[in-house]
Each structure stands twice: as C-alpha cells, then as structure tokens.
Amino acid sequence: MKTRSFLAFVAPSVASMLILIALPLVGVAYLSLHQSRVKTELVELTTEIPLVGGLTRKQTRVVPQSVLDEDGMPIQIWEYVGGRNLAKAGEFKGIAKAIGNPRGGSEEKGYLSRLYRDITNFEFWAALEFTLLYTFLTTPAILIVGLALALAVNSVSKRLRGTLVFATLLPMIVTPVVSSLAIYWLFMDNAIITNFIEYLGFGKFYFLADKITIRTLIILYGVWFAAPFAFIILYAGLQTMPRDPLESAMIDGANKWQRLRYVIIPHLGPLLTVITLIHVMDAYRVFEPILVFNADVFANSVQYLTYFALAFQDNIHKAAAYSILTIVGVIILLIPVLRKSFREYRIKT
C-alpha cells in the first residue's frame, strides 16, 4: 500500500485520536502548569439592619465580590505557576522529608513501617499504593484461576462447555458499575452474605467499614472480574495445543503435573505474557469498585482520586496534576511492552 493512500485511509481515525486524545493531553499539561481563580474586588456594601420597633440602622461593610464581564459571567484569572501544582499533588517535599526521617504513628518502630505510614498519609501516594497492591495481587491470581478454569473446562464434555463459557463471561462483560453493585449488595449491612455469616455464628462483619475487609473484597472483586478474560485466552490457547508433545510426554511417563509444568505452560507462555500486559494496563485504571463500595478512605486508586478532585472538589488544576502523575505511571508500566514491540519491529525491518 502506498503511503498516500495509507494516510487517506487512516485520516479519520487519526484525526479523532489527535483531537480527542492527543490534544487533551496537551491541555492537561497546560492545566497542571496553571492556577485559576475568579477575579474579585472589594466593594462597599451598605445594608439596613432592623433594630427595635421598626427603627433601622445603616451599616457599611467591605466585602469581596466577583468581577463580572459584559455577559454577566465572572471573570477568571489564570496564572502560570510552573511545577507548583505537581509538587503539591505529588507531595515531593513531604516524601523527601519522610525518607530522611520518618515520624510514623505511635505504634510503628522500624524505619520501613514508619516510612510506609508517612508515605501513605499523602493522598496521591496512598492511592498509588493501593493501585499497585491491587495490580500486583490480582495479576498472578487471574493467571492461576484462569489457567485452572481453562484446564478444567477443557476436560469436560463438549456439551457442557458452552454453558460454562457463558457463566464465565458474565462477571467480565456485565457493566462494571453493575457488577460492583451486585457484589456490594451481597456484603452491605443486612445483605445476604453478611447475615449468613452472622447466622453461622461468626458475629457481625462490617465488610465495607474496615480497611482489611474492604481491601480484600476489592481485590477478590478484581480477580472475579478479570479471571474470565485470562480464561478465554488460555482456553483458546489450549485448543491450538498440538497433540504430539503431550502424547510423547505421556509415553515417557510424565504425570499430570509434569505435563502441565513442562509441556502445557511453555506452550501457553506467550499468552500468559499478553494477559499480564493487558491486565496490568486495566488494573492500573481500577475505578468502579472504589466508587461503588465508597472505599476511598481505606483503598483509593489513582483514577478515582483524580475523578474525585474533578467531580466533587471541582478543582481542574489539582485533577490535572494528578493526571500528569498518572500518565508518568502509565508510561513506566508500558516501558517493557514498548521496548519489546520496538525490538520486534527492528528485527523485521
């Protein structure tokens, strides 16, 4: 294909991405470097204050009031602040101080535990901590669960497989807000599982009001939600598995575990890498369970933190600073992928 016709074919798609993805990224950088406020002026305001018996007294006060333009809209002042928003969002000074001499709480003794306490006291770093915890705990879990499911489904009769795949697709494909809510409605106060645990005699659990249980719940949700994805891909990988190596392994007397370890897993190796890469990208964006479980006090994510600054605090500059830090994280996570595809590309050309 000639470069000219290539450019013509990709033009609409590229234009949409340039205008609505690339340009906004520039915009976010711009927002993070600026600070805006409504322009105010001091005006004298005279009011009549009622006294006893219909008498009034005039009182004059000086109050700040926003300045309006011709259309009656408040005038905004924008000023360039350089890296100040970023430094504030990332709490870099506080981090440096904590590394030098962490104070910790009253309980922590060791350097690392005091440092951990100090760092997770900062909003952004607390969110990053849980985001990474979520990412690195769910990734191996979905690989194991997905592989176990793929092997199990592969071993049952063909008639059952369709139903099993259908059931498995549900947690992954149903709208994430809805699937988070479905879990939330099982574990809230007086919900079926909470009541059932109480009925069994384990006492009353407040799953959503305790740091350990809510974090566990969100991570389990993540596994439940993402394992089907790993399953589908590994299951497809098992269908393309050649029969010969498995049969020769059996003739050589390999047991089930050895066949899995030395024949099946090496065959699925590239797929395991792909699943890991895609899941890490998706896990870094975890949002819905934090929103639905109202978990941000105990378990925040970088995406929810930014959303909160944008939607509830209405602070675009703070949100932009968090966004920039988030993008830095995305790029760090993507470096291995980018390097790999770049190497493959160099080999091809």
Binding site: M17, L20, I21, P24, L169, Y284
Partner: protein, 278 residues
C-alpha cells in the same frame, strides 16, 4: 485406564467448576431475585428464596424516575458510537494491515499508549474545554468522545482481522485496475463482516458500560442508563431508593445477557484475536 487418582481428579474438577459457576452467577442471580421484592424481604435478617414478588421497583424507576429517557439516550449514543467507530476503524484497520512502512508501526504504538490511559485523564481536559465551547451535555459530544477513546482498541482488533484476509484478494483487484478505495469497497467489504461484527460488539460494550465519561459530560435528562445508576448509590439513601437502583441495575444487565446469548462465539473470537495476534 481409570485409576483411583484420576477419579479423584475428575471429582475435584467437577467440584471446582461447580463452585466457580456459583461464584460467577450468584451475585447476578441474587440481584435479579431481590429486584422484585420489597426492601424488608430483600434485606431480611434471615435470607429467604421465596418472598412476595412485584414489579413495583421497575415501575417506579422506569416511569416515575424517567429511566425510559435514559434508555433512549443510551440507544442513541451507543448506536451512533458503534456506526462511526466501525466506519473509521475499518478504514484505518485495513490500511494498517496492508501498509508496510514505519508510519504504521508508530501509529500502532501511539494507539497502545492511548489505550492504556485512564479515561479520567482525558476527562480533566474535556470538562473545561467543552464548557468553554458550549458543547456540554449533548449527544454529539458524548458520541465523538466515545468514538475517539474506542479507536485505539478498535483499530488494533480490526487490523488483526484484516491481516487474516489474504492479501492476494485485493491485490488481484489492484492489478485489474481498481484503485485502493475501489478494491476495498468491492473486494474487502463483502468478506469483512465477521470481523466487523466482533469489533462492533466490543465497541458496544465500551460505550454501553462507560460510567465515568457519561456521568461527567451529561447532566440531568441527557445522561445514559449506566451513568444514571450513580443517582442510586451512596449509603445515605433510603431503602426504597436502593431497591429502585437494584431494578435499574437489572434493567442495564438484561441487554448484556441477551448479547452474550446471541454472540458468545464472536465475543470469544474477538478476545482471542486481539490477544493472540496483537
């Protein structure tokens, strides 16, 4: 050769699969079941499988809370998003599958980075910009935004499908004197539908499942079904309101379940194509 250990293994597999099906399905099953109940029965201290059922929650949310309006909004937005997304995505995916230059590689790398971006990053820029431009809370705005954030994924997936269509097909047409465009239209378009349907399913899921963007860019009556569920969240809501939210969540889930019923094969094919070849 049925040994005892293989029998044990079979029963273990059976138990594990049964447990998984219960875990995968139960949250949705329970949500469906309690959506027909009154709050007392839905969150009773001793959970029951049999309780009086009524359509009251559904009646309330669909008619009194105006959920029908959000359903119409969702339909307009998802249909338009899928149509535009596939049209421009097919052109780009086809070109990426046939072009050998380095520009194609860089475009794919950029798309990969864009796909990894958390959507809230883009939202941060959209919010002040769309407000300033006066295009806040309009169908067109949400549609073009969803099309754009769909593109990276769509072009990767469609590229994988177009690669699997033999090159010789359109090259023969080119030799016969067709232009690229004509070769695409006459030779490729008739055979591309299986791939397009799969990519369309994923476009649908992305647009339909989106909460983050719709909840921020659309307000009041313009919002989508998924985003409107935000009105029913939070702990300080009454039990009645919670029940209406459950009915709403069930209403959002039904089209997805139908979709899996009809298109299970294509969904599986699409996921594996994207992962194995991408």
């Amino acid at each position: 050769m049925k040994t005892r250990s293989s029998l044990l293994f079979q029963s273990l597999t059976g138990t594990g699969l049964t447990a998984w099906v219960v875990i995968a399905v139960f949250p949705f099953f329970w949500m469906f079941l309690i959506s027909f109940r009154a709050p007392v029965d839905a969150f009773s201290s001793t959970p029951t499988f049999f309780a009086p059922m009524s359509l009251e929650n559904f009646r309330h949310i669909w008619i009194e809370d105006g959920f029908w309006r959000f359903a119409i909004n969702t339909t307009i937005v998802t249909v338009a998003t899928i149509a535009i997304s596939l049209t421009i995505g097919c052109l780009a995916g086809y070109a990426l599958a046939r072009y050998r230059g380095s520009l194609g590689f860089w475009l794919l790398v950029a798309a990969l980075v864009f796909r990894a971006l958390p959507h809230v990053v883009l939202l941060t820029a959209y919010k002040p910009a769309f407000y300033e431009l006066g295009i806040w809370s309009r169908y067109e705005t949400l549609i073009v935004v969803l099309v754009a954030i769909n593109q990276p994924f769509t072009i990767w997936m469609l590229r994988a499908f177009f690669i699997s269509i033999p090159r010789e097909l359109d090259e023969a047409a080119l030799i016969d004197g067709c232009s690229r465009w004509k070769a695409f239209r006459l030779v490729i378009v008739p055979v591309m539908w299986p791939g397009v349907i799969t990519a369309g399913l994923f476009s649908f899921l992305l647009a339909y499942n989106d909460f983050l963007i719709a909840s921020q860019l659309m307000n009041g009556e313009m919002t989508t079904m998924t985003a409107s569920l935000g009105n029913y969240m939070g702990q300080n809501k009454s039990m009645e309101r919670l029940m209406h939210g459950i009915a709403g969540a069930v209403s959002v889930t039904i089209p997805i379940i139908l979709l899996i019923f009809i298109f299970q094969r294509q969904i599986v094919a699409g996921m594996t194509a994207g992962a194995v070849k991408g």
